[in-house]
């Protein structure tokens, strides 16, 4: 019979004004770094913000934020802990640094469980760091999260954009709002991605040049917000 978790998930997001899933068809394009940077940018504009890391097999936002030992509180469900002014939920609260070998159906079940029991405070923005691709997590988000918007990340690579194009096509077909596409890790200026995005009648948000300072900022949000990378994210945070 019915799974009692499904019906209450929309209720769990009723206090969240804007939900933005940072996604890509391809892995390794900088989704997690953009998710954290965007959350910090919106926080610094005075918005109340949350960050949900749904990349269960390779979570990394906790490393970018430099947090460990956080644990949700139990209050008729679970309430995400707050770090650096961010309401922060990740599977690492439970898996710690252990490998999380989950098949698709198990990932889906874990996502549903977490969405059903997590109670978000009143938030202006909830940023969701998505796992790459068109797998269970993406399909679950489309199925379960009301009012979801996507922010899609590509690199300048033709190969990356081919996967990204498939995600964009799916989102367009399903009528899911797309805030725009970010071209990340740019080494040399090219108009290829911009042209391709605009051909699909979508917004090309910005090109972010490869930033050598970024690696040293991992684990230090205060350093991250002083990088060129973050400056570009601050600019686009006003457009979404």
């Amino acid at each position: 019979m019915s799974d009692p978790r499904l019906i209450i998930i929309p209720e769990r997001f009723k206090n969240v004004k804007n939900i933005i899933a940072v996604s890509s068809g391809k892995g390794g394009v900088g989704k997690s770094m953009i998710s954290v940077s965007l959350t910090l940018a919106l926080r610094d504009k005075g918005y109340s913000v949350g960050l949900l890391d749904l990349d269960f097999t390779s979570p990394s936002t906790h490393l970018i934020l430099g947090v460990q030992g956080l644990y949700p509180t139990e209050e008729k469900g679970i309430t995400p802990p707050i770090t650096d002014g961010i309401h922060y939920m990740s599977i690492v609260h439970y898996s710690l640094d252990n490998p999380t070998p989950l098949r698709g159906a198990d990932q889906s079940d874990a996502i549903i469980e977490l969405l059903a029991i997590t109670r978000w405070e009143t938030l202006d923005y909830l940023i969701i760091d998505m796992p790459p691709g068109l797998g269970d997590a993406t399909l679950d988000m489309l199925r379960l999260i009301p009012r979801i918007n996507f922010l899609v990340v590509s690199t300048p690579s033709v190969l990356a954009f081919e996967s990204v194009k498939k995600l964009l096509t799916l989102l367009i077909e399903q009528g899911i709002p797309i805030k725009g596409v970010i071209e990340n890790m740019v080494l040399t200026t090219s108009i290829y991605i911009k042209q391709e995005v605009e051909k699909m009648n979508l917004t090309y948000l910005t090109a972010i040049y490869f930033d050598n300072e970024l690696e040293a900022a991992i684990g230090y949000p205060n350093k991250l917000i002083s990088t060129q990378f973050h400056n570009r994210i601050v600019e686009i945070s006003g457009k979404i």
Partner: protein
Amino acid sequence: MALVRVNPYILGLSKLLREIIILKKYVAAFPVMHEWALAEGVISTAQKYAKDNGLTKVTEVIVMIGELQQVEHEIIEFALDQLRTPFMKDTKFVIKSKAAKFKCRKCSHEWNFKTGKLSEDVSEAIHFVPEMAHVYIKCPNCGSPDFDVPEGRGVWLQSIKGIKE
């Protein structure tokens, strides 16, 4: 989950005093539990099912609880009772357990869930997100984390009985 069990029988108290202690203990502990969130799902689902099927009254809901999630029956019963809608004023909630079973996808070994072998932290992680079993439990035969849980995961509704006008 830190629900301290007191065995009042050992203390040799009267029946009335035992009941008062148990009631106080649950009132203090229950409202913060995450079982509340699951109970909300049960109530909302039963309510929707009843409406969709033209029931004017729900008489019985059978809720199955998988052993893997280690949900406390008393807590979920308490939460269901508190969350009753007028539609379910006299509904009997029956809570049943399903033993958790594992089957290794690599060597086909089958085994049962034994909570006693897990630390409190691991037990708690699995309690909140049952798939954390794949992080902390390995096949006792071959050591693989790639196993199936064919029975005994999560909370689900087995049946709803009601009256149609």
